[in-house]
Amino acid sequence: MLAFTLKRLLSAVPTLLLVVATTFFLIRIAPGGPFDSERNLPPDIQANIERSYHLDEPLLQQFGRYLKGVVRGDFGPSYHYRDRDVSDLIAESFPVSFKLGMTALLLALLGGVTAGVFAALRRNSFSDHALMSLAMSGISIPNFVLAPLLVLLFAVHLNWLPAGGWRGLSSVVLPAFTLALPQAAYIARLTRASLLDVLGSDFLRTARAKGLSRSQAVWRHAMKPTLLPVISYLGPATAALLTGSVVIEQIFQIPGLGRYFVTGALNRDYTLVMGVVIFYGALIIMMNLLVDLLYAWLDPRSRQKQ
């Protein structure tokens, strides 16, 4: 297990390096630069600024300088938010995104698994069909459509919840729900298919033949194999939540990392964009590793192999 973990961590290094290199050069290909503005700066001031941020050096040299910083954990200063380091910005805004993302993930898991199990146990009933249609819409409706609709209903008409901002628990509800819905829908479909598969398995029939009632057999024998595919989906789900949060935080005006990513990209704030991308990349890699470890630990067949 330890060797497996180390191997996976080592293999993450080239992945991250690739991510860093791709973003570094891609964002510099994008037209415009961090210090372009409508006001024309005198050329010597422009040159001064560029020199102080080492933007006048050859691209490869800049890349080398940046890499050196990253290895030391220094993402450099933000070009747009003067006097702020990218690391500070991340440290300040990530807890907000984390709270939102975690709430959404928990909602998605709880709602998705419950709905999936319920639908599978009542296969082909009205509630099964209703839940699965709902899940299909949940997957199909983009979050930038759902979010304004929810705001219109719950904030504008009913006035139950705030339309945006980040003050107190009530402001988490709408963004977390919007973020969670497509994931919950996907997990529900995954759980349903998985449980149906297990319900038809021989070992569940053995469990019934032992005298376990249907619900006992389902709880004791079907849950673990049903949830394994859901657990391995947690990696991709995290990635989907992160990308979703970029849009959601913008719509709901939440001061999270996703919003910095958007404004950073618009302002050509090279270091900020790079910092966020590397941070998210590392997070997704870590999450996938965790999921794999959890899966290996839960499945006795893969546990023994390591």
Binding site: D202, F203, T206, A209, S213, H221, R301
Partner: protein, 325 residues
């Protein structure tokens, strides 16, 4: 009173193309500690009969007739009552030991679960008893092996574990549905021997399902031949094998002799097993029968005793030929 009394059992499935019957008019009895072998081709209704007795047919199955265990009617009984019987009075060993065990649970836990459920044992007592049961079915080092998962056992060992699980609560009746079909030939014999000796030791009645007449006659005192969901012939194993009365039994035996004789072309029963959605009228075997009579296609033959001179054995057959004699 017999331990198990099945009468007029009927199992059918409604489909878009109409209802089709997989078991029809099946009646038989089984005494305490007795053994019955059920033989027949695929689709003859053997497994459906077994699942009907266990009450484990799929939800869309329609069951009619009567199944009594110790006088207690099982058909139409509530799931709660059946749950208390399954695993305790009634047990079953399934065909494929590779998939019949839960891959995510240690085998000790899987055996212990039955004991906790029906005998109210604590987890510790159940674990201890599981080891004894594993030992009894011939698993070495049961203490260590009971903590292992199914994938760490061979097919034969897994079937031993399933037998241990089935016999854990000392059931009155054990149903084994082709318990060795999925196993290596070399292992088959050992598993069957184990089944027979354990049932004998514990006084458990056995219903063994197989398509192998040779195996059945060696294992069971009585034999029932099924075809197209119906009983064709039933009687003491030796009688049925030595004096087959039904043309289908005789045909089955010829294929068997050929397998063991080995010379020349293999004897086969011409034709195909009946299509259950559109069963032939009259006796289901008549389209393939070599001794078919004119009214075989019109009238379903009643099951009646075979009478020979000076004979008191209960040998039954469902064939118009027998009536003629």
């Amino acid at each position: 009173m017999s331990l198990l009394e099945v009468s007029q059992l009927k199992v059918s499935y409604p489909t878009r193309d109409g209802v089709f019957d997989v078991v029809r008019d099946l009646s038989f009895e089984l005494d305490e500690a007795d053994s019955l072998g059920i033989a027949g081709e695929s689709g003859s209704g053997k497994s459906q009969t077994a699942l009907a007795i266990m009450g484990l047919l799929p939800a869309n199955a329609q069951v009619g007739g009567s199944i009594r265990l110790d006088g207690q009617e099982l058909i139409g009984e509530s799931e709660r009552v059946l749950d208390r019987l399954r695993g305790k009075s009634l047990a079953m060993v399934f065909q494929d030991p590779m998939s019949a065990l839960n891959p995510y649970m240690t085998v000790g836990r899987q055996i212990g679960e039955v004991l906790e459920l029906h005998q109210g044992m604590s987890a510790n007592e159940a674990a201890k008893r599981s080891c004894e049961l594993l030992q009894m079915t011939g698993i070495d080092e049961p203490g260590r092996r009971s903590k292992a998962y199914p994938h760490q056992f061979s097919g034969g060992q897994r079937q031993r574990i399933l037998i241990a699980m089935a016999l854990a609560c000392g059931p009155r009746l054990l149903i084994a549905d082709e318990p060795t079909t999925a196993l290596d030939v070399t292992v088959q014999k050992k598993i069957l021997e184990l089944l027979r000796s354990l049932c004998k030791e514990t006084g458990t009645a056995l219903i063994l399902i197989s398509h192998d007449l040779a195996v059945l006659s060696g294992m069971c005192r009585n034999l029932m031949i099924m075809y197209g969901g119906r009983e064709m012939e039933r009687g003491p194993s030796q009688r049925v094998l030595l004096q087959p009365t039904h043309p289908y039994t005789a045909a089955l035996l010829r294929t068997l002799e050929d397998l063991h004789g080995g010379a020349g072309a293999l004897a086969v029963i011409p034709g195909e097993p009946p299509d259950l959605r559109n069963p032939p009228g009259g006796c289901p075997f008549h389209p393939r029968c070599s001794e078919v009579l004119p009214h075989c296609s019109k009238e379903i033959p009643r099951t009646r005793p075979v009478r020979r001179i000076g004979d008191k054995q209960s040998h039954w057959v469902a064939c118009h030929l027998e009536q003629e004699q």
